[in-house]
Amino acid sequence: MMRSLENELKECARKLLTEKKVDLIIGYSKSPLPLRSTPCFIREEKDVDSLIFDLTCSNNLATYLQKSKCAEHRKPNTDPTVRMENRCKIGIIAKACDARSIVQLILEKQVKKEDITVIGIACTGILDLKKVSDRLNGKEILNYNPQDDEVLFEGKDFKKALKLSDILCDSCKTCLNPDPSVYDSFIGEPVSGAKTEKQEPMTELENLSFGERWEYFEHEISKCIRCYACRNACPLCYCEECVVDRTNPQWFGKSTEFSDTFTFHITRMLDTAGRCVGCGACIRACPTHVDLAPLGIKIEKEIKERFGYTAGLSLDATPPMATFNEDDKEEFIM
């Protein structure tokens, strides 16, 4: 089944390139490492065959609309005429969460809708490598083979099947909108929306006392080494100069001192409030597995409750933090 999905995908990409509808396709290709895929940038028809799509395609490709070379012509400091000439049309392969990020980028006027061709793809979730590694006691995996609701992992001297539901990312297991919200063409069959409630993993933390919650976050955030992988993986962290990098004024200390680190994470979460689509790219990018999810989910929940907005679902929406309603609730203000 996966094979035919890939064939359909290659066909679609090839067609877009031959008909010169796009100059560039952003997709996934095989990585030398097992259980990994790597983003690839295809400009020529002959390279289309390297495209893949499977359980390992974890990057949020919308990030590259902003952070790759093809984004350079959009920089405000380039001559506008040059910008128009170099404007390249991009075809991008988008899972549901990538598509939501693209919607946000269009809403925030970071990319032009007419420059982007979205190839939506049916996604049933992607692997959480930490969960896999934990369940295989960190043994080296050489090959894997997805079956219906199981994945067979093979290593040097072992073979083990793991249940798919045990090794999918949390953000996939609780995904409420598994089909792309916008697309120009769609690959595969739409995935039905019957999934577990998104906020489920959170309630536990919310029922704790202030002190216990603080302890939880103190433990989690202490693991952070300030590599900024979370920021770099995030499709919506696209500021030319990040506030954390500023030196005048210097808002954040540069060490891994706890309060500085936590201030950075809180600030990032507040900056993405009402824009974060919950793709989990920051969490997957983290080398030390800091659990940032509760912060994001909490804000997402609050935004939905207060302002009735979920990020990335519609191109006609107004981002909630860029507007207001005279009747917004203000029960917390004296």
């Binding site: 506030v243 808002w251 507040l270 409030a273 009402g274 912060l295 933090m321 917390f332 203000i333």
Partner: protein
């Protein structure tokens, strides 16, 4: 700066340090009125005047907590009274999210408080400061978010 960083916890007569961000057009004038009218209120606040409550970046609040303030008060014009028409409406949305997140990570609700005080409300300003000071006194010195240097 250094004196804010180390609250004197052992001292029996510990007094909280509270920072107050007041908007130029309403709350700052309200504070002025309280002073001119000789209304008594606790001397624990340090005032920073800002052009509008919309000027307040959540980072300001985080930095204050980090640098050792025991409480933060943010005050602006009533909705509809903003000198810049809509600054406080946007601010209200920001504050709602900030407040939720701070409470979620375990900062006690009394530490960071928000209020609307108009230029004519000297009495209300005094009451707000009294309430914030009392709340923060009950909570004791801030320890959780303070930068450990």
């Amino acid at each position: 700066m250094s004196e804010h960083r180390k609250p004197n916890t052992e001292h029996r007569n510990w007094q909280p340090k509270i920072i107050a961000f007041l908007c130029n057009w309403c709350s700052y004038a309200g504070a002025d009125l309280a002073g001119v009218s000789r209304i008594q209120y606790p001397p624990n606040i340090r005032v920073i005047r800002v052009p509008c409550s919309g000027r307040i970046n959540p980072i300001f609040v985080l930095k204050c907590l980090q640098n050792g303030f025991d409480g933060v008060l943010v005050s602006g014009c009533y909705p509809g009274d903003c000198h810049y028409i809509s600054g406080n409406y946007y601010a209200r949305r920001k504050f709602a999210i900030l407040k939720t997140l701070l409470e979620f990570i375990g900062i006690e609700p009394g530490r960071v408080q928000f209020s609307w005080v108009s230029a004519g409300e000297g009495e209300k300003f005094a009451q707000v400061v009294k309430k914030v000071t009392d709340d923060v006194k009950k909570l004791g010195p801030a320890k959780r978010f303070v930068k450990r240097v």
